[in-house]
Symmetry: D2
Subunit: 320 residues, 4 copies
């Protein structure tokens, strides 16, 4: 192992820069050269490589976004695209590739590893936390805190407005963000993709609260909830039950911002672990942290197994 | 003047608590008793009065929302409602009323003053900043900073996504929030109610940026823009010009949160000034701050005259 | 078990209010009455009990500080004081006591349990994270993020000032805060109580950086570092090595502020777990969370065993 | 006017980057070339010029610190140093220089203008706000909000600790920061350089509060207070009056962080105004904003006249 490259892929997640920094510093510490690939797999195919020194990753640990510009690529989803990408790596004598991203990015990483024999290590980074094999993904803690800060602000004004507020948070088809934001904000209800959402029961809860003199209710709704998100729930509350509500869709705000300490520390550890996995011949694999220990898994495990939300917390949520 | 009452009315604005605190403390300093009225004009009609001591307003200067629960009242829009409210004040020997709110609340204040001879002072508090007679309204500075923080987060991720982001901010029919957020975020375009919005020109700007290799564009859109807000603009960009964009409507997030220093200081000064106006027999009037001096105006001036946005800044915005 | 009481003890930790809220709500859910005790053990001796309903803990989950006013008590360190406290509990037919605090508070809890047969459950809450038996204590995550935010600000200005900045963080005799803040900020050195601090080696590192054209260095120093804290290190750097540095002691800023999501969720779970432990006859004990599972330990374990910092991370810190 | 250069000088102030951005964009808009000078006047002497395009100032409007690295220079305080600096400007055919900084930097600007005939425009940027000729300096609003956020955190914990907290804020020999932070935090006392500080009266106030059952007091102390700052006051409180207090010196934290909206907008306007002043032959001068209008003054006015704090607010502070 002499030369490695690193790229960020898929949706942005705060902490990606901290991870890139750790990868570059770790590689240089091990005597390897490190290149950054711009624009994810697309840049891998189009040859957008930049050799990095320590100075290139200086003062980025606290920055949101990604200096490598995470991106999506359709070309990489073809065998030809991956062959072109592998050729670019070989032309530059790059022996190992680190892919920072989520499940979708890991599928691409697995494909190029199998087809082209490239040594690839995946580092789980997505605000959705929906990657099996690691307790948390890079970016999740920041996204949850950003969303919670917004809900706190809405709560400030909810009492006066005497309204039902439905706040939709991200998470794709998983409820990790919604669950923690719901518990952390003391929400009256949390609508998750993993559990059936009964809008009639929700309407009854709201009505009971109003009868008890509670003027406002906060509902946290995962974008992947099977009812179709906050707007669909609001619509059903209105048309079926005659209950007005106010919808806020937090949206891309959740993908940005300076990463929390946890995200920076996790990103730094996993960046190191990824280089370590390459150096010790463990690739192809993904790295993760489980019960505060670094682990390695086959890339395919990350999407074959489904990471489950904390079902205990789901049960406790309405009580605490 | 022996007894005064204070209420908050209309949409919540950060800093209302700081103002309530200053009103109570100033009143007590002048030897007056001070009552808080819950739920705005509705509570005035329904008799929700609480006599306040210094301790009741302790440790609230930094809190968002309003301990008096700002509210809207339809009953107060009738002569009968206002007569009932005046009766409640007289029954409690309350000589002066301070109304913290925006234009709409000032109309109500003016009506009860004219019809019932109540000594009323209005304190301008609304995130929209659309009250004539004061450089800034309480809550505006906080709302602008909250919105800007969200736009900063969106910018973090915009470059990677290579997309057009349209962020809709509040402001009712005025562009104060949009203009400052647009300049403060370095947005590529700012869509204001006060200026004609040419979606074709916007489309041309975006297209030119893409041709120049600029991968993302941030557009700030006032909710009151004559095109109908961010979603309408996005729809026209798509259907007429074939340009995809991503919409974020910041919504009620902008009404909450701990007030900025400027809002707390302004709220404290105006709270004092309102009590001072009552004590010196200047009611009915509104108080404001212009060029850092406290001023008093007839209540009706606040909606008769239109406060103008900074037209110089509108012109400079695309250049700086 | 019919009646329980809850108090907060020792230094404030963000999340204490979220825990109090969960204790009260959980108790009521189990059909118990719940009293809050003001001013910690002192209030327990002096009889400062308040019976709480759900409304009393409404809208506090996001607040820093403690509505029960955490405090320290010398009287409770005597057998007589604890006997008086037990009498107060019995007089009110309170069957169980929940103590939210750190090691020192748990010693008091253990003493009143042994001497007076009171059913006590300890909930670990301290920004220092120095309680054995739980991965994290309530308040730690918030304190670390607060400190990191300050270090980020100092870093903004460090490059221009071309100086060595030594930032002292809290943690008592443990380096938990310093280690995470150091890694999270990408600090050039982290001075911990758990590892020998060689100021000469630090001076050599700084000098080497200057020779390499790196204009500024950030040093994170735990208050419990064996050299005596940031000022002592700065003094030795100056007098022995002729190196100027700028000291910032973050201080009590780290104890306040709205808790992070992690702290609110942890506090809510442990509040529930504490009531559950009382109800199931597990008292006296402490509750904690290890590898995301609720655990119970004898109170004495919390100070008999020493919680260790992440020695792997200590080794990695200079490299990543 | 064909070529201009811009530098930042003195202590860092949030918003400097927004100003640099506006200067560069405004210059290019006027058809001028724009160079950044690194490391302030030192770089001017040592020839550290970088020609800037729009892309070089892209995505910096929200960043703290300064991409030009503000610095101090002893050489520039000599006639020879300034002659060398002027030579560097002429060698590069640079016709105009924009200096972003405070009073001290303006003295240097004035000297090189008088001695060497350089067209210089000063833009007031310092967190201290102690520059005559502009209502606010760039960086002041951010510093005040940063300091206030820290005081809010300390307040969270103050009640429990039942202590006197003395928080020292920056401001050099002026009390602008202390006054607004004091009013904004509802502090019990504010110690300013502009008013005599009577520690005995302060002790009496604290004692009276304790007698009235108020457990904690927050004192805001300007670093330039004539008593010598927070530590000196604490020492006198202890030795003369036997009152314990807890000191926090906020320090360099106040110089960093992402600028507030007000600072970004002010910086953008003044950056434009500086280029405009150069283009219209108004140099040498400083630009500022007074009552929301752009103004120009002779550079020397900025230190000849003394900007006064709001004496009305000083009087009101203890009452509101």
């Amino acid at each position: 192992m002499k030369r490695i490259a690193v790229l960020a892929s898929g949706g942005d997640a705060p902490g990606m820069n901290a991870c890139i920094r750790a990868v570059v510093r770790s590689a240089l510490h091990h005597g390897l050269s490190a290149s950054g690939v711009l624009h994810g797999y697309r840049g891998l195919i189009e040859g957008e490589f930049r050799e990095f020194s320590t100075g290139d990753v200086s003062n980025i640990i606290q920055r949101g976004g990604s200096i490598l510009f995470s991106a999506r690529s359709e070309a990489f989803q073809t065998v030809e695209g991956r062959a072109e990408a592998a050729r670019n790596l070989r032309d530059r004598s790059i022996d190992g590739l680190i892919v920072i991203g989520g499940n979708g990015s890991f599928r691409g990483a697995d494909a190029i590893a199998r087809e082209q024999g490239i040594a690839v290590v995946g580092v789980p980074a997505t605000i959705d936390n929906d990657v099996w094999g690691t307790d948390y993904t890079i970016g999740y803690d920041t996204a949850v805190n950003t969303a919670l800060d917004s809900v706190d602000r809405i709560k400030d004004t909810a009492a006066s407005h005497e309204r039902v507020f439905i706040v939709e948070v991200m998470g794709r088809s998983a409820g990790f963000i919604a669950l923690e934001v719901g518990v952390g904000s003391g929400a009256e209800a949390i609508l998750l993709p993993e559990t059936p959402t009964d809008v009639s029961a929700l309407a009854a809860l709201i009505t009971e609260r109003i009868l008890n003199g509670r003027r406002s209710s906060i509902i946290i709704c995962a974008e992947g909830d099977e009812n179709g998100g906050a707007r669909a729930v609001a619509s059903e509350l209105k048309t079926v039950h005659g209950i007005d509500s106010q919808v806020t869709v937090l949206g891309h705000v959740q993908r940005g911002g300076s990463p929390t300490t946890s995200d920076r520390v996790l990103a730094s550890k996993l960046g190191w672990a990824a280089v370590d996995a390459l150096c010790s011949g463990a690739a192809p694999c993904m790295v993760g942290e489980v019960s505060r220990r670094i682990v390695r898994h086959p890339l395919a495990d990350s999407w074959t197994f489904v990471k489950e939300i904390d079902t205990e917390l789901v049960k406790l949520a309405p009580l605490i």
